[in-house]
């Protein structure tokens, strides 16, 4: 034990030295020897990508705000987006301009940070089919934009990707990627790798056939599209494809692990976050649940739904795949973010990918091969007793299988997962992951369902209740080298907003009932909190303004899947009302209301 620790320290020292020489900052390994695998290359005072960097660390080197002074944080300025639906996602800050994208109708704004009053440089209102509103399963959210080459790239709910001139707001191109008549919407934040914008589809509840695609930055032309289901040639599986586990190898598994042609409407969307490792040139993402939820319709593993996929960023070729939840019967998508870190584990540095799956396991995976290094529950669960390390497959509890009976009681976690779209953050200083989680359980009732294009293809219902302890969410710190929780802050509602980690030793997150909090990264002590205008489902970012001060910005604006019932009440000409979603979110209407606002804080 002692020898291992000494080894780690030595390793940490070496890594820190190597990295600090050329990159410094976020590239350096912290005292624990852990480092961000693909640290940002641009200035630390910006927020250039949805997840801060290609690794999705949501970590910033900024350190003006510390545990010692966080109590002095105050609201500096705010901005109303003019849109009331769920504000997932986050701003970008590049070169003293802040870029925002709203939920449908997906208006984008460029805000001048150099001028008092923060005037707009431009506002862009894209053409965006209204019918998409009712095709989106889980509110009309948008998870943000990407910046590259003087352009802003983002997705429209109606299945288009647009490029906008960052200087003028002029639309440069608009490419149709999905078809709402077949249930395809797009809600995810793209990333740009070299000359390609990478985009994935939503619609796992609508009988879609999920894909990831690359679009040429300059022309808007589609360069490749890899489906997540179907024949190998459509998935872009070739000789390079080497899954780590034997049961994941074979020809056309994306067809043969489905009955008949059901893979054509089998879901497996790619609506979550993308990561990229420049050294391996691999793009990582998770795929959604198989459809329909009624499992009688789709015996088999249903590849490659509920899987983590690694593709060559240039060609789209699938290099490895790991099916996190084979034959998913609980709606446990694997879309959650993959955070790329190099971690000291058992005396060696592993090129890791850390993934907090909806199914409740926190996975530490070898990102070069897809081997599961460890998988431990990070929330309460009862559907599985653990992950079989020989196969990577979860060991099932028979009575919690959703086809065990027409109605199955008390399955944990619920279909919202141990966490959902709300992204975690990683700090190389502490070596810990900061994870917004849900603590929900569900009953499951299967019913018949038929496919009708453009309508939901579900075939089950799953009312939710609070998990063990009665709290419905918890913000936790997680050590991915051992699979252990270090501390947690219990919350009355699911923590549906993302996390931000900073070099100042302060971590930030917001809650569904509208508290924005600064927390000591080392021990979870709440240092400061502010009641924002509406529940937070967005992800905080931090930047340095032209005045040299560190700012922290976050969207408030309740909605998203946790706002399903809330969203259902919305029409443009009606009074808005937060409604309680059955037993899932009791009393919420008392604590928050609709509103799309950016809040910006500083010392």
């Amino acid at each position: 034990m002692r020898r291992a620790i000494a080894g780690l320290l030595l390793l940490a020292a070496c890594t820190a030295k190597d990295q600090s020489a050329d990159r410094g900052g976020a590239g350096a390994a912290g005292p624990t020897g852990a480092r961000i695998a693909a640290p940002r290359t641009g200035p630390a005072n910006e927020w250039p990508m949805p997840g801060a960097d290609y690794a999705n660390s949501r970590y910033s080197e900024l350190a003006q705000i510390t545990p010692a002074n966080a109590a002095n944080l105050r609201a500096s300025w705010t901005f109303s987006t003019g849109v009331l639906r769920g504000h997932e996602g986050q701003p970008l800050v590049v070169g003293n301009t802040m870029y925002l994208v709203t939920p449908y109708p997906n208006v984008s704004y460029a805000i001048d940070l150099t001028t008092p009053g923060y005037p707009l440089k431009w506002k862009f209102r894209p053409e965006n089919a209204q019918a998409a509103v009712g095709i989106a399963c889980c509110d009309v959210v948008n998870r943000g934009a990407a910046f590259a080459d003087g352009k802003i790239f983002y997705n429209l709910l109606d299945g288009h990707t647009v490029a906008v001139d960052a200087a003028t707001g002029r639309q440069l191109w608009r490419t149709r990627m999905g078809d709402i008549k077949r249930g395809e919407t797009i809600t995810m934040a793209p990333i740009v790798v070299k000359n390609k914008v990478l985009v994935g589809s939503s619609g796992g509840e609508m009988g879609v056939r999920g894909w990831l695609a690359a679009i040429d930055v300059a022309s808007g032309k589609e360069l490749w599209r890899g489906y997540n289901l179907g024949p190998d040639k459509d998935i872009l599986i070739g000789p390079r494809f080497k899954p780590f586990y034997a049961h994941d190898r074979g020809t056309d598994l994306g067809v043969t692990s489905w009955p008949g042609e059901s893979w054509k409407i089998g879901g497996g969307a790619a609506w979550g976050w993308l990561s990229y490792d420049p050294e391996l040139n691999l793009v990582y993402y998770g795929t959604s649940n198989p459809g329909p939820w009624n499992v009688a319709k789709r015996p088999g593993d249903n590849k490659w739904t509920a899987s983590i996929l690694a593709r060559d960023a240039d060609t789209g070729e699938l290099v490895w795949a790991f099916q996190v939840t084979p034959h998913d019967m609980w709606d446990y998508d694997a879309v959650n973010e993959n955070i790329l870190v190099d971690l000291p584990i058992n005396g060696t540095t592993r090129k890791a990918l850390v993934h907090f799956d909806r199914n409740g396991f926190g996975y530490t995976i070898d990102r070069a091969t897809g081997e599961v290094i460890l998988a431990k529950p990070y929330v309460s669960m009862n559907w599985s007793t653990g992950v079989d390390m020989a196969t990577g497959r979860p060991v099932l509890v028979k009575e919690k299988m959703t086809n065990a009976a027409p109605k199955v009681k008390d399955i944990c976690p619920s279909l919202e997962g141990g966490k959902n779209q709300q992204p975690a953050a990683f700090s190389p200083q502490t070596g810990l992951f900061y994870v917004p989680t849900n603590n929900l359980c569900m009953d499951w009732e299967t019913r018949e369902v038929a496919y009708i294009a453009g309508t939901p293809y579900i075939g089950a219902m799953a009312p939710e209740t609070a998990g063990p302890g009665g709290h419905r969410g918890e913000f936790i710190a997680w050590d991915a080298t051992t699979g252990t929780k270090k501390w947690g802050i219990k919350e009355p509602y699911p923590v549906w907003g993302g996390a931000l980690a900073t070099a100042g030793g302060v971590v930030f997150y917001g809650t569904l009932d509208g508290w924005f909090k600064a927390v000591d990264a080392s021990n979870g002590k709440v240092l400061w909190q502010f009641k924002v205008g509406s529940g937070v489902v967005g992800n905080p970012v931090t930047y340095v303004g032209p005045d040299g001060k560190q700012y922290v910005a976050v969207y408030s604006g309740i909605g998203g899947d946790m706002g399903l019932l809330i969203a259902g009440d919305v029409a443009a000409n009606l009074p808005y009302d937060v409604r309680e979603r059955g037993s899932t979110l009791p009393d919420l209407a008392r604590w928050t209301s609709w509103g799309g606002m950016l809040f910006v804080f500083s010392l």
């Binding site: 089919a129 209204q130 019918a131 998409a132 509103v133 009712g134 095709i135 989106a136 399963c137 889980c138 709402i180 008549k181 509840e205 042609e261 054509k264 409407i265 019913r447 018949e448 369902v449 038929a450 496919y451 009708i452 294009a453 453009g454 309508t455 939901p456 293809y457 579900i458 219902m461 609070a466 302890g469 009665g470 709290h471 419905r472 969410g473 918890e474 219990k490 919350e491 009355p492 509602y493 399903l564 019932l565 969203a567 259902g568 009440d569 029409a571 009606l574 059955g582 009791p586 009393d587 209407a589 008392r590």
Partner: protein, 169 residues
């Protein structure tokens, strides 16, 4: 404008043709279409705009099943068979699409108005089912959907004095 006028005329023509069919109660086809059949049926009518005047013919748009429990029960089956349930929620509690239980009818709650919403579709993505469902089936759905309302819309929600157990904080 011309296209709109034509659309209205067409709609009336379809209703008139279908009127005869509705004399024989019972859904023409309660079996949901299979995969291969569907593309031609379902259209999300993006061209349908709010404010388009639907012909309010009181004879055409009287629910033949008003208050008929059997029709409502069949309507409940259609509600599942045509995937209404996954947008509007089990028992009409709402989800991707508006609820039916709260008395807030976004496009009107009269039988004729609900019929019209089902037939025409609505701009936020409600499909136009008039091309897929026969008249009797739509009226059965109308009967079921309207039966879900649990009360009138409430103007005041008073939260004081309520105690709801909250864990956390």
């Amino acid at each position: 404008m011309g296209a709109f006028a034509l659309g209205v005329v067409t709609t009336v023509a379809i209703l008139s043709t279908r009127d005869a069919e509705s004399l024989t109660p019972g859904p023409r086809n309660t079996t949901p279409p299979q995969l291969a059949d569907t593309a031609r049926f379902v259209a999300h009518n993006e061209h349908i705009q709010a404010g388009l005047v639907f012909p309010r013919d009181s004879v055409l748009l009287r629910n033949p099943y008003e208050g008929n429990a059997d029709a409502a029960a069949t309507g409940a089956k259609l509600y599942v068979a045509y995937n209404c349930v996954d947008c509007h929620g089990a028992d009409g509690s709402g989800a991707m699409a508006p609820a039916f239980i709260d008395g807030r009818w976004h496009f009107g709650g009269s039988p004729a108005a609900v019929y019209q919403s089902i037939y025409e579709g609505r701009p936020d993505g409600m499909p136009a089912w008039g091309g897929l469902l026969d008249r009797a089936s739509i009226w059965r759905l109308v009967t079921y959907v309207r039966s879900l309302q649990q009360g009138k819309d409430v103007a005041t929600e008073n939260f004081t004095g309520k105690t709801v157990e909250r864990t956390g904080h």
